[in-house]
């Protein structure tokens, strides 16, 4: 098909803008990468921009051998994978009934869930509930309280509601029950939004910090985010009460921090292209109804 001049200009502008956007997002990443690959003296003096100075892998070596990064990485994986599966399952189970107009108490339940998004008991009451269930120091304390994110659930519900009635009615006439309707019709049509929510949950679990800090006691169950966050914020702690030799030994070098940050971010960058495969156009026939 012949492209009009207008369309061609559009494409050029599009690519230009996106390239610009991509670059301004890439540069800080390059900076962190460069810091992780540079020698300490240059890093301390603030000389490193996006190119490493005196390329070396020492920071990574130090990270691998001098910290608990391997264990933490593994823990993060377990927490993320299991948590995401559980949450997606529960969210689907929550959104599907609420998307059916004939579901009794639909409005009431939706409101009740929105209410929980707004009002929160706070750290201590939540902790006490978790404790009474015997979940302290168990990964269940990370998965169960986050089982259904009201935000994600509401998004899913909206998408489910947008599935054309004709499809559903047709299947129902073929004798489909709710479960079959859900698994055979609704879910396959919701590929993109399911992929999105899986990503949201995955990212949420990978980045969980406060929860892990408070509910997990054993140091060998800590996740990567806690480890990296501690390194980053350690600089901000008062050093007034430390003895001089302790300041030296216990403050994290900048290069090590940068290496840890890279290890933390990498999986997220690697995973995303796989999620993007689910964004297939035209899965649904017919326009979304309001």
């Amino acid at each position: 098909m012949r492209e009009t001049i207008g369309n061609r200009i559009f494409y050029v502008c599009n690519y230009a803008l996106l390239t610009l956007a991509g670059l301004i997002c890439l540069l800080p990443l390059l900076n962190v990468l460069a810091l992780s690959l540079s020698e300490p003296a240059a890093v301390l003096a603030g000389k490193v921009t996006i190119i490493p100075i005196a390329l070396q892998l020492d920071s990574y070596a130090q990270l691998m051998t001098g910290t608990s990064v391997v264990r933490s990485f593994y823990n993060s994986l377990v927490i993320t994978l299991v948590g995401t599966c559980l949450c997606m399952l529960a969210t689907i189970l929550a959104a599907y009934p609420l998307s059916k107009r004939y579901f009794v108490a639909r409005k009431f339940l939706t409101l009740a869930i929105v209410f929980t998004m707004i009002f929160n008991g706070g750290l201590i009451p939540s902790y006490l509930v978790i404790k009474s269930l015997g979940l302290i120091n168990d990964y269940g304390a990370l998965w169960l309280p986050a089982l259904v994110s009201a935000y994600n659930m509401l998004i899913l519900k909206t998408f489910f509601e947008g599935i054309p009635e004709e499809l559903i009615d047709a299947s129902r006439m073929d004798g489909c029950g709710e479960l079959r309707l859900l698994t055979r019709i609704v879910l396959p049509l919701s590929g993109p939004v399911l992929a999105t929510l899986t990503l949201f949950y995955g990212v949420g679990f990978w980045n969980s910090f406060m929860n892990v800090l408070i509910y997990i006691n054993s140091s060998d169950k800590m996740n990567l985010t806690v480890m990296v966050q501690q390194m980053i914020s350690s600089q901000m702690l008062e050093t007034l009460s430390l003895r001089q030799d302790e300041v030296e030994q216990l403050t994290t070098p900048e290069g090590l921090k940068a290496a840890a940050i890279m290890i933390l971010i990498m999986p997220m960058l690697v995973v995303y292209p796989f999620v993007q495969r689910f964004f297939v156009k035209g899965v649904m026939i017919g326009a979304i109804k309001g």
Partner: protein
């Protein structure tokens, strides 16, 4: 048929949940989610070695989790040092360590206390957290416990009663155990000697000279590169203390009778100097956005800053030398002002660190542990490692590390385990080590010079008393103080950067705001506290007796 399928689905979901919660466990054999409650009390013991006698007293001790246990050494709960400690501690005591993440101590301790599972022995550097635990009635008074069960620590405080005084509260009881480090410097204040020499200037000793030198550094291109890209002095981060301490504006300010004074005049003078420095162009105009002081430090280490203050080490010196091989540093005494001659931040010779949980099952065992961990022999092994394995005796009688790599892998990360050890009694720590690099030797020399300069009783720190004995304000006064002080700091900053805005105006505005917000009530409370508790105060002069 539909319902059956749903029922099957439910069963599968339940199985998944149960299976996953089991999968989430690693070493510990805790129950899965259900109503069997968690074991209560301080019983977080994961026994570090199998099958010890059942009548051992189990105690739990806090240790900072800094995520820095090297690969292969184990975890914070179980590693060569926890085992060594358990082998050498008094025979009927068994110690389990509870790691507390260094970056979130308050939150973690709060949740542990709220659920009755806090460790028996709490060790922390932050006086605010320690005082909070005392005020909330979560810790035990220690006078009798020490008297009845302690040997070593009891002797220690008999010789150094100031240590107890530090943690005795208004009710006359002592709540903390501490350690003696000996008075030492903490912050260094450096000036670029090579720049002074090049410009024909002397180390500044008065505020006027400081201004002159700083302006010269900024204006006269001391690094000789033809560009006006150097700064005289830093005002952000730890360097701010140069001015703050010089003018004695750090809380609490007490006069010669140990009566509390709200340091308005001092604040005005300090900010007046800051304004003059700023307007003369001697300071980086971005200093207000440099909230952590990182940029100031980077400027100093890349050779662009003339006067800087803060924590320093050989690594930073190496960085500076690499950027500017000809750089020469010299420690600088704080210029003398109309308020006196003061020293920059020093390491207090003694600090209270440990508290015992009110719900500890075996406080006597905790005291025994304290005795063990604070004894010099324990400290020596934990600091240097095992004789023959990590160190051997050197010529000066002090331990020499055999293999640096092995030491780093196996020993040097264990510092938090013996926080209570008094370094004061290890003379070897102050000795220079045998094989030092050029940079390390230079740094050691600088340290000696700084010590000679800052540790004089004639130039004490600006606070007249040890800051461990200060009033804790009731909540409403605390809120007033926090908020109003915050707003007043904004006024001072505005005065610095706004041309034509004089310090008199700023002072008037600040005082007006303070009084309007109820600041006078705060002043009265603090003043009354200091006069009521005068006998408990520890004057700074006592610091110099433990050097």
């Amino acid at each position: 048929m539909r319902n059956r399928k749903l029922a099957i689905l439910m069963v599968i979901v339940m199985c998944l949940l149960a299976a996953c919660s089991n999968a989430g466990e690693t070493n510990e054999s805790k129950g899965s989610n259900g109503t069997n409650g968690q074991a209560k009390g301080g019983d977080k013991a994961a026994p570090t070695s199998p099958a010890k006698q059942a009548d051992k007293k189990k105690i739990t001790v806090m240790v900072y989790d800094r995520s820095n246990v090297p690969q292969g050494e184990g975890s914070y709960e179980k590693n060569r040092w926890t085992e060594w400690i358990n082998e050498n501690v008094p025979k009927d005591v068994e110690v389990a360590f509870v790691p507390i993440p260094r970056g979130a101590v308050r939150d973690k301790l709060n949740s542990l206390f709220a659920s009755d599972s806090a460790p028996d022995l709490i060790l922390d550097y932050d006086p605010a957290i320690r005082n909070d635990l005392v005020i909330q009635n979560l810790v035990l008074p220690l006078d009798e416990l020490i008297d009845q069960h302690s040997v070593y620590y009891k002797e220690l405080i008999a010789k150094y009663p100031a240590l107890v005084k530090l943690s005795t509260k208004e009710d006359g009881k002592n709540y903390m155990v501490g350690r003696l480090d000996g008075l030492d410097i903490n912050h260094y204040v450096f000036v670029r000697q090579d720049w002074l020499t090049k410009l024909g200037l002397q180390v500044p000793t008065t505020p006027e000279e400081l201004l002159e030198v700083a302006v010269a550094f900024a204006e006269r291109d001391p690094d000789d590169n033809g560009k006006k890209d150097t700064y005289g002095i830093a005002l952000s981060g730890t360097s701010e203390n140069i001015i703050t301490y010089m003018y004695q504006t750090i809380y609490p300010v007490l006069d010669s009778d140990l009566a509390y004074v709200n340091p308005w005049e001092q604040q005005k003078a300090a900010h007046a100097l800051k304004k003059r420095l700023y307007e003369a162009g001697a300071v980086d105009r971005d200093f207000l956005t440099d909230t952590t002081g990182k940029k100031a430090e980077q400027d100093f280490l890349s050779g662009k800053l003339g006067i800087w203050g803060g924590n320093f080490d050989a690594g930073k010196l190496a960085s500076l030398k690499e950027a500017v091989p000809t750089a020469v540093l010299t420690p600088m005494a704080l210029p003398r002002t109309e308020f006196g001659q003061f020293a920059p931040e020093l390491n207090s010779p003694m600090s209270p660190i440990g508290l015992i949980n009110r719900n500890a099952k075996h406080p006597d065992a905790v005291i025994q542990f304290i005795d063990f961990i604070s004894s010099p022999e324990t400290g020596k092994t934990m600091y240097y490692g095992l004789e023959g394995v990590h160190w051997k005796a050197g010529e000066n009688g002090c331990p020499q590390i055999i293999d640096e790599e092995k030491y780093k892998q196996e020993v040097s990360w264990n510092r938090d385990y013996f926080m209570l050890t008094s370094k004061y009694f290890d003379a070897c720590l102050k000795q220079p080590s045998q094989n030092m690099t050029e940079v390390q030797k230079e740094f050691a020399d600088l340290t000696e010079a700084a010590r000679a300069l800052y540790l004089q009783p004639s130039s004490p720190p600006p606070y007249a008393i040890d800051k461990n004995v200060v009033p804790t304000l009731p909540q409403d006064l605390f809120i007033i103080k926090q908020n109003t002080e915050n707003s007043i700091k904004d006024i001072w900053v505005k005065a610095i950067v706004t041309p034509g805005y004089t310090m008199e105006q700023a002072l008037e505005e600040a005082q007006g705001m303070w009084n309007k917000s109820g600041g006078d009530k705060v002043d009265q409370y603090i003043a009354k506290w200091f006069s009521d508790n005068k006998s408990r105060l520890i004057p700074i002069s006592e610091w110099y007796t433990i050097q």
